[in-house]
């Protein structure tokens, strides 16, 4: 496959996944902000939301305060914010446009339609009282595009690079959510118990569609440690780090190629550590330290994917 095609496919999927994750985080943050007793300071949750995305500086330069309205405007609709849902959907569509010939017409039409609809919503604005219907819509469009990929694409490298983008972005996102929620909402792992826990952790689980799964898996109280275990190590959780790296590792092995040696080695190492890791070890080491290192390592892997498949300099 052409390097440039693979590059577009990968970013098409990443952009769509990013739009979905941003919608998920905005939705759950909005719900959490309604729990007055949980707020240590005004706009606490919204600040946390901004630091998850690493966009707080950009935000502060242009908005007076991190109110619900401002952050939703910034993260959902702001044309100047490269990480907004608006720009993620635009990116997904532009990347799809560049490789129209390589994907099915259903795939292109779905992404094109999503973008046209996004532009309309952008003009009208999100209704007051939170953007839940809008966030639901973003999630549905993301589900749809993944479903179309599954239902219509030949299982060749086109499909693999798409999936690679999806799981890479998802791993990055799950790690960020966990890190920030732990760090900001609950500095110490011993601060457990009480109704606040139920709501805070419940909201976090809901943001990654894991609330019901938690109940099924643990059949017990929600505790921070188990939440961490579920979202880091459980191979049956579709958004856990282990699941994401399982997929990334398998996809990279299938794509392979003459220059993939170092990439496969490093990916296999990270994958192995997750697969055979234990939550006690992770907690003993420090969850924040663990997640920061994980983010750094997948960032490096992303670079390596770039030079291995997209922008080699071997002429």
């Amino acid at each position: 496959m052409l390097s440039s095609t693979a590059d577009h496919l990968y970013w098409m999927a990443r952009s769509m996944e990013r739009a979905e994750n941003t919608a998920r985080m905005l939705d759950v943050t909005y719900r959490m902000s309604l729990l007055k007793h949980a707020a240590a300071e005004p706009h606490h949750e919204w600040r946390a939301m901004l630091s998850i995305s690493g966009l707080h500086e950009d935000f502060e330069a242009r908005y007076p305060e991190p109110s619900a309205e401002n952050v939703v405007q910034f993260m959902a609709l702001d044309e100047k914010n490269p990480g907004s849902i608006y720009n993620s959907l635009f990116g997904a569509r532009e990347n799809a446009r560049a490789v129209r010939g390589s994907v099915t017409s259903e795939m292109w039409e779905a992404l094109n339609h999503t973008w046209l609809e996004m532009r309309r919503i952008h003009g009208e604005g999100i209704a007051e009282g939170g953007g839940s219907p809008f966030f639901e819509w973003v999630k549905e469009r993301s589900h749809l595009s993944r479903g179309i990929a599954h239902g219509t694409l030949l299982r060749d490298d086109t499909f693999r690079f798409l999936r690679l983008g999806t799981f890479f972005e998802r791993a990055d996102n799950t790690a960020r959510i966990l890190d920030v929620k732990y760090h900001i909402l609950l500095p110490s792992l011993s601060d457990i118990g009480g109704a606040a826990d139920y709501y805070q952790w419940g909201a976090l689980l809901r943001s990654v569609s894991a609330f019901e799964s938690y109940r099924k898996v643990y059949r017990d109280l929600i505790t921070p440690k188990r939440v961490a275990e579920l979202l880091i190590l459980r191979p049956d959780m579709p958004r856990s780090l282990t699941t994401c790296m399982n997929e990334v590792n398998r996809l990279l092995q299938e794509i392979n190629g003459p220059r993939a040696g170092e990439l496969l080695r490093r990916c296999g190492l990270l994958h192995g550590e997750l697969r055979f890791g234990s939550i006690d070890d992770i907690v003993a080491r420090g969850l924040h330290e663990y997640l920061s290192e994980f983010l750094e390592r997948i960032y490096d892997l992303g670079d390596l994917i770039n030079t291995t498949y997209f922008w080699s300099t071997d002429e």
């Binding site: 052409l2 440039s4 560049a98 010939g101 390589s102 002429e315």
Partner: protein
């Protein structure tokens, strides 16, 4: 001007035999059904995104090329004549291209003045002595034909560089079959859908010698080009990669494409980039679209470019007047298809005549294309005519003039029902080991009443073109 020949109705208003089947269907189909189908076509074209970008006034916008549901129908016998004529013409043009870049026998024989070829800006010095596979230069030609007067055909232009529009031919057919399947069941209409197969075969047949399984790619200037849709469409239909300049590189006079599995050798490039932009080392230095070193690899015979570099010398409007002579010279035959009578404004006598009759004539730039920069005397204002007069006097060699042909008309849906509109026809002729073409081509229609300019950039639309099988 005499009334134009109508494709569907004869002079007495009777339906011609070739249109009888369609006319019967039209008479028996309620108007609201047709209106609904026309809407359906519009929506479908938008959804698929068959659009083109426009230069000039509304630059940067994407527009839909209007599609008209009344087909242009060509009787079998008439097509046979056209097909023979096109084969003959393209064969001669390829022979001419080989000759001007090698022995230049046609100049030596005194059939075409040396200056017209050698001093022409379209003549590529770099191509002299370069051998190309099968001696084919023009692998894809889009020859514009028009019908005038009593119904006789003329060749208006031989488009031998990067002719476009074939995707509309294919999409128009797909749309007609989807909207009106019953029409295709009623009569035998020659298929055109295998064009991408013929094109791929044709491209593979001209691969460099010794390449068993040639890797063919389509080279596009990029997604902001007006014909990008067509480039992507053809690549997809042929099942080959669509590349832009950044996807290719040259090493050791060989062309490679960058793939996820490392560099992969490229053998045949169906390029939709003009000569000037192909290779910044050989042609325009500022080109960001091309591939550095490509021309050197081409000269070395390690890659085939379709069309070849330098074909512009054969479809230049100053050379056009000599095509009948080329056919006699290279094929030893009389031309089957006629040229439109043409005045060369570099000749004082021709110029004098043209300047005295500007209001009746069509004046075109020698190197222009796409309907830009031309004067249609009968519909032009006095001021426009005077402006052109100045341009001609200032640089007469840049222009030719032709009589205003009464292009044939075809019934077409317009705002207030069906009315005759002028049409032309662009069949696509493929040359490789042999010459092939699908029956028919792209019919373009000038939607403005009385307009003779069918180019999509000037408000033209398209129609499905049917060649009847008997």
């Amino acid at each position: 001007m005499k009334p134009a020949y109508d494709e569907m109705l004869d002079a007495s208003g009777k339906v011609r035999p070739s249109y009888q089947g369609f006319a019967d269907w039209l008479a028996s189909t309620p108007a609201d059904v047709i209106a609904r189908k026309r809407e359906e076509a519009d929506i479908a074209f938008h959804r698929v995104g068959i659009t083109f970008a426009v230069y000039g006034e509304d630059a940067g916008q994407e527009r839909l090329i209007p599609f008209d549901i009344v087909p242009r129908i060509i009787p079998a016998q008439e097509w046979q004549l056209l097909a023979d004529g096109l084969r003959q013409r393209v064969k001669a043009l390829n022979a001419f291209l080989h000759d001007v870049y090698h022995g230049q026998e046609i100049i030596k024989a005194g059939r075409i003045p040396a200056a017209q070829i050698l001093l022409n800006s379209q003549f590529r010095e770099e191509m002299v002595g370069v051998d190309v596979p099968e001696r084919i230069y023009c692998h894809i030609a889009g020859v514009d034909l028009v019908r005038a007067g009593e119904g006789e055909y003329y060749v208006l232009e031989d488009n031998l560089r990067t002719p476009s529009g074939v995707s509309y031919m294919l999409e128009d057919r797909r749309m007609m079959m989807r909207l009106f399947p019953e029409l295709f069941a009623r009569q035998a209409i020659a298929a055109v859908e295998h064009y991408p197969d013929l094109l791929l075969n044709n491209l593979r047949s001209v691969a460099p010698a010794g390449v068993a399984n040639p890797n063919v790619v389509v080279l596009t200037p990029g997604q902001f080009n007006s014909a990008y849709f067509e480039h992507a469409f053809l690549a997809q239909q042929m099942g080959v990669e669509l590349v832009d300049g950044n996807d290719l590189f040259v090493r050791g006079d060989m062309v490679f494409m960058r793939t996820t599995q490392g560099p992969l050798r490229v053998d045949v490039i169906y390029r939709r980039i003009d000569d000037d932009f192909l290779d910044p080392r050989a042609f325009r230095k500022d080109s960001m679209l091309g591939v550095p070193g490509l021309f050197s690899a081409y000269r070395a015979g390690n890659v085939t470019l379709a069309n070849a570099v330098g074909t512009g010398i054969a479809d230049d409007k100053a050379i056009y007047v000599h095509v009948p002579e080329m056919i006699r010279f290279y094929c030893g035959e009389e031309p089957i298809l006629s040229n439109v009578p043409t005045w060369e404004l570099s000749k004082p006598k021709d110029r004098e005549h043209v300047l005295a009759h500007l209001a009746e004539l069509v004046v075109k730039e020698v190197h222009g294309s796409g309907g830009y920069g031309m004067l249609v005397g009968p519909t032009a204002s006095r001021a426009e005519i005077e402006l052109f007069r100045e341009k001609i006097v200032a640089a007469p060699q840049k222009y030719i003039a032709q009589p205003t042909l009464a292009l044939s008309t075809c019934p077409t849906y317009v705002e207030n029902g069906v009315a005759p509109r002028h049409v032309d026809l662009r069949p696509y002729v493929l040359s490789g080991k042999e010459i092939t073409l699908v029956p028919g081509g792209l019919t373009r229609v000038a939607l403005k009443e009385g307009s003779l300019v069918v180019n999509s950039s000037q408000g033209g639309g398209t129609k499905d073109t049917w060649v009847l099988e008997q």
